[in-house]
Symmetry: C2
Subunit: 579 residues, 2 copies
Amino acid sequence: MHRFEIWAPNARAMAVMADGATLPMPGPDERGWWRLDVQNAGPGTDYGFLIDDDKHPYPDPRSEWQPNGVHGLSRVYDRDAFCWTDESIQARPLGSAIVYELHVGTFTPQGTLDAAVERLDYLAGLGITHVELMPVAAFAGNHGWGYDGVALYAVHKPYGGPDALKRFVNAAHRHGLAVLLDVVYNHFGPVGNYTGKFGPYTVDAHHTPWGGAVNLESAGAFEVRRFFCDNALMWLRDFHLDGLRIDAVHAFVDRSPIHFLEQLAIEVDMLEAALARPLVLIAESNLNDPHYVTPREAGGLGMGAQWSDDFHHALFAVLTGAREGYYQDFGALGQLAKALEQTFVYDGMYSRYRQRVHGRPARHLSQHRFLGYIQDHDQVGNRAMGDRVGQIAGLERAKIAAAIVLLGPFVPMIFQGEEWACSSPFQYFADHEPEMAKLVSEGRRTEFAAFGWKPEEIPDPEDRETFLRSKLNWDEAAQPRHAEMLEWYRNLIRLRKTTPALNNGDPGNTRVDFDEDGKWLCIERGPVMTCCNLGSKTCSFPVPNEFRVLLASRDGVRIESEMLTLQPDTIAVVEASLL
Amino acid sequence: MHRFEIWAPNARAMAVMADGATLPMPGPDERGWWRLDVQNAGPGTDYGFLIDDDKHPYPDPRSEWQPNGVHGLSRVYDRDAFCWTDESIQARPLGSAIVYELHVGTFTPQGTLDAAVERLDYLAGLGITHVELMPVAAFAGNHGWGYDGVALYAVHKPYGGPDALKRFVNAAHRHGLAVLLDVVYNHFGPVGNYTGKFGPYTVDAHHTPWGGAVNLESAGAFEVRRFFCDNALMWLRDFHLDGLRIDAVHAFVDRSPIHFLEQLAIEVDMLEAALARPLVLIAESNLNDPHYVTPREAGGLGMGAQWSDDFHHALFAVLTGAREGYYQDFGALGQLAKALEQTFVYDGMYSRYRQRVHGRPARHLSQHRFLGYIQDHDQVGNRAMGDRVGQIAGLERAKIAAAIVLLGPFVPMIFQGEEWACSSPFQYFADHEPEMAKLVSEGRRTEFAAFGWKPEEIPDPEDRETFLRSKLNWDEAAQPRHAEMLEWYRNLIRLRKTTPALNNGDPGNTRVDFDEDGKWLCIERGPVMTCCNLGSKTCSFPVPNEFRVLLASRDGVRIESEMLTLQPDTIAVVEASLL
């Protein structure tokens, strides 16, 4: 027996087509639900819904299995069949995490969750504690970044489907790795989104850069919010995920007194108590608004953490000299220092790029409520060529970036391949049907024409080669300069994990000294000092003789006559010896 | 000499046409402003701005004088010429206010601010403390409600222009009356709005029921927010207003960490300190969100108060039996009791009308942060016929409504003419040019067709008769049944003003006992009990003999044998004698 259920408040009639038979459904109840128990149906039954006098069945918006892609029939999935063997795993608190963001399709040559399982040994050995998967919800086409998901409850078939995700999480947990999942609740992809046939999942009154905004505050919002909350709870409960990264929360339009994210935080807190294991919600937000990561008891929305672009932009602009687009607001060492000390650089200041005042101070919040990174899928992939920081600023500066990220006050995050300065770019790729593909390709060219790129220079997102080019080449990790970088990352991670002062996120714990003209920067975190010379001349820092050098990005760095001397583009970590 | 200034960030060239001469303006500066000092210009100079190679000048979005209507040239206004004689006036705190909402165009036969001055004696005698003017910013046409303002800095010419507003406020202050002004910052009217020629005052991404949402968070928002904040500061500073009522704050789309209303509250607080007299901001909000009226120190937006529709709807539905539209969510005495005790009825409950969960508890907030009313321009005027509560439910029930409003926990507000049960409706009227007029008339008919009204039954908003019909007929106030009602209002106001317990807004101070079947309700506020029989049978309330009847809506109400006996549709106020 299987109960088919569908929310379709405006339908005049509903039927389920199950294994070929069309069965009218009773309904709707007062909330707009239609329900039918079917005796012969169960796991494996293919089904779809017929609305009014439609002849063509649509997939279930809550389908957990789309074996034939987003346009095909849904299949009843057996939620309880998988044999979990991860029972004893408890994810470590985010404050002591080293996060690794990966894209299933390009992380391995095979591009599947099962192939990714084979790399878990490597990630655990590197010192990673949390793996963050880019979205795995089913989207149109074979490959893509995943932010155009339309069947939000179904794991993308080319990645291996739902059971493959369970195998991945189970294996990660057995390696001591927590797993975070990127979920997109602010829009539906432009292709294969049938939700609008069933109900008011989106509204016309508000637009996001990717289409109609989801309906969080208008008629029907009760069920739409349930749709997203239930989705989040499913991943955490049924797939044993340890947390979610919520894409672009700034795109939500929700003036409800209980914001969607607060509702989600409340429900996830309840689930955490029921499951008795820690769960975390991480927001992607470009609002520089401390409200999102303020605890609910203090009147905030209760997100556990959020990504911190200001730190990225400040660091990237200093290291690469980039000043185009949003980098025009950055470039001073003082801004990097402010980011390290106070998290938000734009905390109520006028932003030239945004042409408005931006942000609000967050300096009272733990810096563990923010993720710090020099690469992520967006910061790499939204560049015209998807090139990496080492390719832009050179390996020595990439080392400096890594040290500031991994020894800094934020929860550090690494993007796949960054740790060995991989040669693979991460370019924007998609796999749409021809009409949409044309729009996407043209859109990408137009976007970058504004920055002076010629159309033929821009990799075509719809060209399969663009996808293949973005895959990691694991063989190169063992090659000399890549291996050197990998060793650098290993050492930095080891140092962070073994040094309590580097795991202190308390506001005020990080102090930065710098010289804008001399181009040097010193980050003091308790007894640990990280000094960096970004100038063109050798630079000396007064350091007591009893300090010792813990790590340096070049050989031969020493403290002599109470001075630490650094060549250009060098970073070193020193510590007061505990004699 | 006069400095002409205009924000036009996207213009390639700007000129001011002043007294017929076209003068190119230097600019723009980095924020998009063009400025020109003109020697011969000054108060009285007619001017407009020419954008790029326009031949036709547009009025100044910040014009303070539109002597020829919203399409005409602006005129330089002498801000300092008026001789104020109100220096010693300090508005009383809102917590002890009796607010009177009036519409300048229909309050008197003449429909002007100067004619309204003649009624200030009457209002002061009635016991009013705060007069709230419906919007006076210039809008297209001669008459209208005023929510379609387009020249937001200019007082509507038919009302008398800027000096007439100063005369009104000055006179009100001399009568000891504070003046609040209704301002509309969530949209511009559909006719005569030239702001879009100059800059991004509105955005396409978000729509309100009345057009594009104002730009509070996108590029250019810094200046748009300044436009509205400066407008608010102008009314308070230059026109000596004591507070503002901010229309439909739920229509703002602002995800900035410093919400526009918080910015406005900060700026008004600073002005209050500078002027050394109390200023208040009152929001109209349908969000049932305590955040708006929570002090800024406690993380809220810092509005002084907001209108409370839940109380209105609960009271109106109980008294009239209305169940159409939003009244479908109301109708139980228990809801009226909840509103009186806890302010929001919908405080996180599912609303059938809204098809979503609505609200958040406000029971921790002072009830003086909420205005209570049984009539206001919307609740009367948005009815098909604009009829008053006495016409719907009868005079005795209108008396009951008045008593519950005026003796209840909220800051009471009366709508013009309510106090003598005036026979004038307040209908929806406007005075548009033919094309828009047709749309408005048809829109109104369509809106009410949904409630079963025939098109010919609906007063045509664009018919001048609809406007004239809505004017108060002051002669009737002295006629028997109207005079009786007026006396009832006078007594209620006097009782409220002289009874400390009725001026206590503290949460928990109001307790309500009721019987849903017996249809009676008793409101206890300290030593004062207000008992009301809404059933069809005589009803007795146990009351100690030492209590005395302070006021009753019918003659002959007494306490006998420790019982207070009330006929149907009667309300009485009793108090423990302080022996």
